[in-house]
Amino acid sequence: MQASNLAIIFGPSLLHTDTAQEDSGLAFQENGRQCLVVERLVLNWGFIESKAAVFRTHLHSNSGSQAATPTSAVPSTAAPHFANTRILELKGEDGHSGLPTRDSPTSLVTAFFLLLQLI
């Protein structure tokens, strides 16, 4: 399933504002931004989760809830094994597969926004 399709479904579910947007055009753009967040999360999750885990460890150690204090930027918990390998698989040997990757900002949602900026 395409990440952009998942983003369109889950974007407005996982995050939204608490105020209704009366302008339908602006509401549509806002909806697109919500989708973009979820698309970023799905496509870059391995990287984001490992960084978030490091930040979380720092946060807890600074608040005194955990005794261990990380001494380096190395993630305390390893990124999911798919974080690097899967994306390389998606890119293929020539780096040009049809699937969106971390290095390729050409997903449907991203392309849509780029198009909006050009209009």
Binding site: L6, L14, L41, V42, F47, F55
Partner: protein, 166 residues
């Protein structure tokens, strides 16, 4: 909006058997033993990964409304039990995904809270994607929000074609 808001007071004051699940904050949801992820999310995701991975339009196609409501009622009648709710009684996998979507939509505060909304949108924005900032914002979410988001995004990754089922 689903009509799933049955209060305990309406059913049995002495021994409330029905727990309101829909429209209730994440941190007030019943969870499986040892988990912080709402039972309804974990149950639906596991069922989808068990028998919905080859289903066309698994999250796009809407389930039959009555089936979605029946599932919602099942979760509410499950009460505060920490045991897994068996969803095999529901043959329509789209009803299960519909139940999950309805639950997320009806949360009084989304998984990514209102306070973080603008910052998260900005960090993920086209004007300048800031992965560090996005990760920092995600990492600073309350535990139940963080665990739930991790769980859901891993599920989406799996649907996307990743190789890490739960």
């Amino acid at each position: 909006m689903l009509q799933l808001q049955t209060s305990c007071a309406e059913t049995n004051k002495a021994e409330p058997a029905v727990l309101v699940v829909f429209g209730v904050p994440l941190d007030e949801q019943p969870c499986l033993e040892g988990s912080s992820i709402p039972l309804i999310i974990e149950s639906c995701v596991k069922e989808v990964e068990l028998r919905g991975m080859d289903s066309e339009g698994i999250y796009r196609i809407a389930g039959v409304k009555s089936s979605v409501e029946k599932l919602g009622a099942a979760f509410e009648h499950h009460g505060k039990s920490k045991a897994k709710l068996d969803l095999s009684f529901e043959p329509d996998i789209n009803a299960i995904t519909g139940c999950l979507k309805a639950f997320l939509r009806q949360l009084p505060e989304p998984v990514i809270p209102y306070d973080d909304y603008n910052d998260v949108i900005e960090a993920a924005g086209l004007a300048g994607y800031n992965e560090e900032k996005l990760a920092q914002l995600i990492g600073s979410l309350p535990k139940v929000n963080y665990d739930t988001l991790v769980y859901l995004v891993k599920h989406l990754w799996y649907l996307f074609g990743g190789d890490t089922p739960f």
